[in-house]
C-alpha cells in the first residue's frame, strides 16, 4: 500500500512539487542536500530522547523519582525542537524527489504511524500527565484511536512489498523493552524462546532449504517465523505491562500501556522512515 496506488489522481500535483526555485537551488549545490540529511538525523536523535523519558516514566521505569508531569513538561520544548528539525528537513528533501515518497510503501507506513505518535505525545500523555495520571474520556478515545492506527501501520509495514524487512526494527524495539523492563521470569522465558528460535530456524533453513537453492521456501520460513515472533513479543509485552502490577507505586496499567505504545509508535515512524531509502517499492 502506498500513496500512488491510493490516490493516483494526485500524480501531477506530486510531480509538480519538484518544479520550483527551491529545488533548483538545492540541486545546484552539492552540500545542501547532505546537510538536510544530517539535520534530519539530529532531529531524530532529539525526538528519541524526548519521547523515551516520558514514555518510560509512564511505564514506571527510568526517572521514577520525578512525576510524569514534570518530565513531560521538561522534554516538551526539545520534542518541538526535534520535530521542527525533522519536518523542515523532511519536507524539503521530499520536494527534491517527491515521486519517491509517493510510490514507496515505507513512506505511507511512516505517515500512518506518525499520526498515533503525535496523538500520544501531544494529546494523551500531556493530558494524563497534567492530571496526575488520570484519564479523561477524551484521552481514552485518543489512546484507542492511536492504538488502532499503530496496529494498522505495523501490519501494513510487515506485509508491504519492499518495506516489510523494516518491520524487524519494530519487533526488536518491543523485544528490547520486554527484556529490559520485564519481570525476571519473562526475561528468562523470552530469552530462551529467542535463542531456540534463532538456532532452530537457522538449522532448518540453512540445513534443508538453503537460500541458494530453495530461496522462496527459505524466505517464507523466515517471514512466518518473524510474524509469529512478533505476536509472541506483543503477548509478553501485554502480559508485562497490561496486567495490574503488584509492585508498590507502579503506575496503573493504562498508563503503562500508553507509555509503551508511544515509544513503539515513534520507533515505527523511524524504522519506516529509514526503510524509504533502504527498501525499494513500486517505482
Amino acid at each position: 500500500m502506498d500513496f500512488a496506488s491510493l490516490f493516483p489522481d494526485l500524480k501531477p500535483w506530486v510531480q509538480s512539487l519538484s518544479h520550483n526555485g527551491l529545488v533548483t537551488f538545492i540541486k545546484s549545490s552539492s552540500w545542501i542536500f547532505p546537510s538536510l540529511l544530517v539535520f534530519h538525523l539530529l532531529g531524530l536523535v532529539t525526538v528519541g530522547g524526548s519521547i523515551l523519558l516520558p514514555g518510560l516514566r509512564l511505564m514506571g521505569v527510568g526517572m521514577t523519582s520525578e512525576s510524569p508531569a514534570s518530565i513531560e513538561k521538561t522534554v516538551r520544548p526539545w520534542l518541538w525542537v526535534g520535530l521542527v528539525l525533522l519536518v523542515i528537513s523532511g519536507v524539503v528533501m521530499g520536494m527534491v524527489n517527491p515521486m519517491r515518497l509517493y510510490t514507496r510503501p515505507a513512506f505511507f507506513v511512516k505517515v500512518i504511524a506518525l499520526i498515533p505518535a503525535l496523538i500520544l505525545s501531544f494529546g494523551v500523555i500531556r493530558s494524563i500527565a497534567a492530571r496526575d495520571g488520570a484519564f479523561t474520556r477524551n484521552s481514552k478515545i485518543m489512546a484507542g484511536v492511536a492504538l488502532a492506527l499503530w496496529l494498522a501501520a505495523v501490519i501494513i509495514f510487515g506485509t508491504a512489498y519492499g518495506a516489510a524487512p523494516g518491520a524487524f526494527h519494530v519487533i526488536c524495539a518491543g523485544w528490547l523493552i520486554v527484556m529490559a523492563f520485564g519481570s525476571r521470569m519473562t526475561r528468562i522465558v523470552l530469552g530462551a524462546i529467542t535463542a531456540v528460535t534463532v538456532v532452530g530456524v537457522g538449522i532448518v533453513t540453512y540445513g534443508f532449504f538453503p537460500p541458494g537453492e530453495q530461496y522462496d521456501t527459505f524466505m517464507e520460513i523466515n517471514r512466518w517465523t518473524l510474524r509469529i515472533f512478533a505476536v509472541l513479543v506483543a503477548g509478553f509485552a501485554l502480559w508485562e505491562f497490561a496486567r495490574a502490577s503488584k509492585t508498590e507505586g507502579a503506575p496503573p496499567r493504562l498508563n503503562r500501556l500508553v507509555g509503551l505504545l508511544t515509544i513503539m509508535a515513534w520507533f515505527t515512524v523511524a524504522a519506516a522512515g529509514r526503510w524509504i531509502g533502504l527498501g525499494g517499492g513500486a517505482s
Binding site: L44, T46, G48, G49, G62, M63, T64, W78, P165, W266
Partner: protein, 257 residues
Amino acid sequence: MFHDLLQWLQDVPGATDGDPTTSWSQQFVGSLHLWALTEGTHVISLMLFAGTILMVDLRMLGVAFKTVPYSTLNNKILPLTIAGFVIAVVSGVMLFLSNPVHYYHSVFFRAKMIFFFLAAANIFWFHYRVQKNIAEWDALEKPPLPVKLSAAISMSSWILVILFGRLMALSFFECENMKRGTFGYAFAECEPVMRAVEEIERQAAEEEAKAAAEQDAAPADDEAPEAAPDADSKPAEPAQSPKEPAPEEPPKQKQGD
C-alpha cells in the same frame, strides 16, 4: 599498516578457493536484507543512545531537568545510554567489516573516529575527575564550569560523530575523487588505494592491448609488432586519470541509499 590487514579481512575470511568475492565481507554486503537491517539498526539505535545522552548533557549544562539531581539521571538514564551504545557499536563494527578498506580510507570515517575518541576521552575525564566531587554540585541548578564543559564537549563531539557518520554514506571525497597532494588525499592515506586502482587499470589496459594485438595478428602479420610496444606505453596513462574527475562534482544526490 592497517590497509593490508583490512584488505585481508575483506578478501580472505570465508572465501572459497581464494575467490575474494565469496568472503564473509562480500556476502554480507551482497545479502538481501541483512546489511540493510544492520544499517537501519545502527541509525535507529541513535534515538536510544544519542537521544538519552542529549538529555543527560542538557541536565549537566543546567538547561533541562534543573530541579532533578544529576545522580538521578546518572543512575536511571545512563544505563539506557549504555545499552544504546552497545547496539550502535556492534552494528557499527559489523558495517565497518562489510567494507573495511573503503571505510578505512574514508575522510569522513577518520573524522568520525577522531571525535568518537574525543567523546570517549571526555567520558573518562568526567568519570574519574569531574564526577569525584559530585556531592558538591549534584543538586545544583547550574553545575560548576568543569561539568558544563564536559557536557559541551560530549554534546558537540557526538553531534560531529553523527554528522560525519551520515556523510560516510555519500560519495564525497572518495580517494578516486581527490587530487594527489590535497589535505583530504593525505588524511585518508589514499596512496595505496590509488596505486591499487592504477595497478588494476594497468592490467586491464595490458589485457586489452594483448587482445587487440592477437586480433590484429590473425588477419595481418605485419601489424602485430606495432601493437606490442603500444601495450608497454599504456601504464603511463592511468597515472593521470585519477586527476580527471573534479573533486566537486554537481550534486550526486545519492540520497543515502
